[in-house]
Assembly symmetry: C2
């Protein structure tokens, strides 16, 4: 893997040099991990002007879940207690003769940015912007391999839950059980806080598990995902509890399913972000649910569970091959509940068989 990270850093260095900065300071945790291979919490990465240096607030050791730093990196562990690693990095950049330093202004607080300026007053500070995030959008096959394993683990955890008895159990307990099963199957942890929503909660975009118990006749919607070697996927499914769904439940389910399928089918290299969103949004809009829809119907996944691109009505840009995204529209009827169906897929050209579905759990309306 170490070579991969060196190539990524080289690419970033070239882009920075072209923009007039001999050195760059990367502080956003997922960006640091992308370029360093692994890093303890709080570590920052200085690229150039000399060798690349990972500055850690403490020695990077024995930290499962954070990966191992690339061996080609010089590691400064730990930075002196009480010293912010970004300040130490700026100091080092100035001492190495850098004239300017590009920093991540969308990550650094005003206070940290000012501390850098005070430490190295002769260093011209530029904005690196979201350059690393842009590089992260298209994944290589090793990254997609991690996402594929994350999705397999997620399917296994969900599949086991569906075989157990659900009526009478609380949302909180079901969520904790799902997270335990993710870890049982090899996840480094949950990719995000597992959502389990029953009855009137079902279908809400970001419901946090409560003490409500599963009842006969409920919709039950779950959203979960595994973190495998830092890569995070997402699945969302909705079920009904009991022997037979009600008429309104079948209708709502079919509608959301059709919308989600339309979104999935719109995934292709060259498709506009907003066009994919439109494909998933339009059926729900036409059925009169436009007002209550969330601002986007999907997003990129990778080292963060929510990354670029955003699949939203005003999003600019087009999909490339090898971009993993979620497609997950949903409808929530206040007081009654609702439906969400969410998959993680990788954009692939038609010639390769079209979008690759990573989350395989059935999307039939199961009565549990």
């Amino acid at each position: 893997m170490s070579e991969v990270h060196a190539v990524r850093r080289g690419l970033l260095r070239d882009r920075c040099a072209a923009a007039g900065s001999a050195a760059a300071l990367v502080s956003r945790p997922a960006n640091v991990r992308y370029l360093a291979g692994g890093a303890p919490p709080g570590a920052v990465l200085l690229l150039g002007p000399g060798e690349d240096v990972l500055l850690c607030p403490r020695a990077p050791a024995g930290e499962p879940g954070h990966g191992r730093p690339d061996e080609a990196l010089r590691i400064v562990p730990p930075v002196a207690p009480g010293v912010d690693p970004v300040v130490a990095a700026a100091d080092l950049a100035a001492a190495s003769g850098a004239g300017s330093l590009a920093v991540e202004e969308h990550d650094l607080t005003v206070v940290r940015h000012r501390a850098i300026g005070r430490t190295a007053p002769r260093l011209r500070l530029a904005d690196l912007g979201r350059l690393v995030e842009q590089h992260r959008i298209v994944k290589d096959e090793e990254e997609i391999g991690c996402l594929r394993i994350a999705a397999e683990i997620t399917d296994q955890a969900l599949g086991e839950l569906l075989e157990s008895i659900l009526v009478g159990r609380t949302e909180r307990h079901l969520a904790l059980e799902l997270e335990r099963r993710l870890v049982d199957h090899g996840a480094d942890g949950p990719a995000f806080a597992t959502s389990v929503a029953t009855g009137p909660h079902a279908g809400q975009a970001r419901h946090l598990p409560s003490d409500r118990r599963v009842e006969e006749g409920d919709f039950l919607s779950v959203r979960l995902g595994a973190d495998y070697h830092g890569y995070r996927c997402q699945i969302g499914r909705t079920f009904v509890i009991g022997t037979a769904p009600a008429e309104w439940q079948i209708e709502l389910y079919d509608l959301v399913f059709a919308a989600q399928r339309a979104g999935r089918e719109a995934l292709a290299p060259g498709a506009g972000y907003r066009d994919v969103d439109h494909a998933a949004r339009h059926p729900l809009d036409a059925a009169g649910y436009g007002e209550s829809l969330p601002p986007r119907t999907g997003h990129g996944v990778g080292l963060e569970i929510e990354e670029d691109p955003q699949l939203a009505p005003t999003a600019m840009g087009k999909l490339d091959a090898c971009v993993p995204v979620t497609v997950g529209p949903g409808v929530h009827l206040p007081g009654r509940g609702g439906v969400r169906i969410d998959d993680t897929l990788v954009v692939r050209p038609e010639a390769d068989g079209g979008p690759e579905l990573l989350t395989m759990t059935t999307k039939e309306l199961l009565a549990l």
Copy 2:
């Protein structure tokens, strides 16, 4: 509770007005919660110049774990999609005739701060600094009541684990089980990622659970805490696995125990932060472990698991009554393991019986 939050906001407004700002924008999540009573993720609070307004990225509803906003607040839910709530707040402050706005420069990124300036160019931006954090240090009895319940829950979860069979189980599973038990006993969730460290990992300050299994003869150190209504406590204990601890284990345990007791006994209104740290650090230093000690031996707890004060060698300031802190020194011997003992206590005057211990689990060296 609503009156409490209005009083807190009034106090902050007065301090801001005295410093020349008619309006303040609070963005750090724990600070927003402290002043608003509850807030959905991403919400920010605008204090003055007119009424206080909570600006939410989406409607605050059905969100256990985030509390309910104070009813005296005007709520703007949701801010238009794609608009940063801090920008919407600055807009509102300018429209309400504020000449200056104090913002939390230690929380806002450079990009968000600049966006505020662009939206409201005539608004003079000042720094609110860590004023809300300072107000949060001394807790009222209702806050301490929440911490007391959080500690009870934590003790129950840990107590149950100690009754179960540990040999052969992985750190990861033990950590997940502890977190499930916290929720079983009424926690809103874990206060922080539970740490379970066995054998050579034991005693590390921030070990994340791995797949290592508990073995006979191991030290086992755990650190966990419950979040109850937003308030977070912390306990750390170290045990030995098997029938009888080895000589070196007993010696190391006794040393850390003595250090931790010295730290606890130093807690009193008027005691310097650094003096408490010194009390806990000195016995370990004198025994030759000075080099490897973490930079602090304790810290404040409340709406965040790590807040002011810091109990560290260079920390300035003195304890007040009703300040809850952790006291948790530890020693880790590379390759062999180590000991950490950590309690949450509330500083109380001698006349009230001295420091109030919240985390009650025994600190005897148990062989499990």
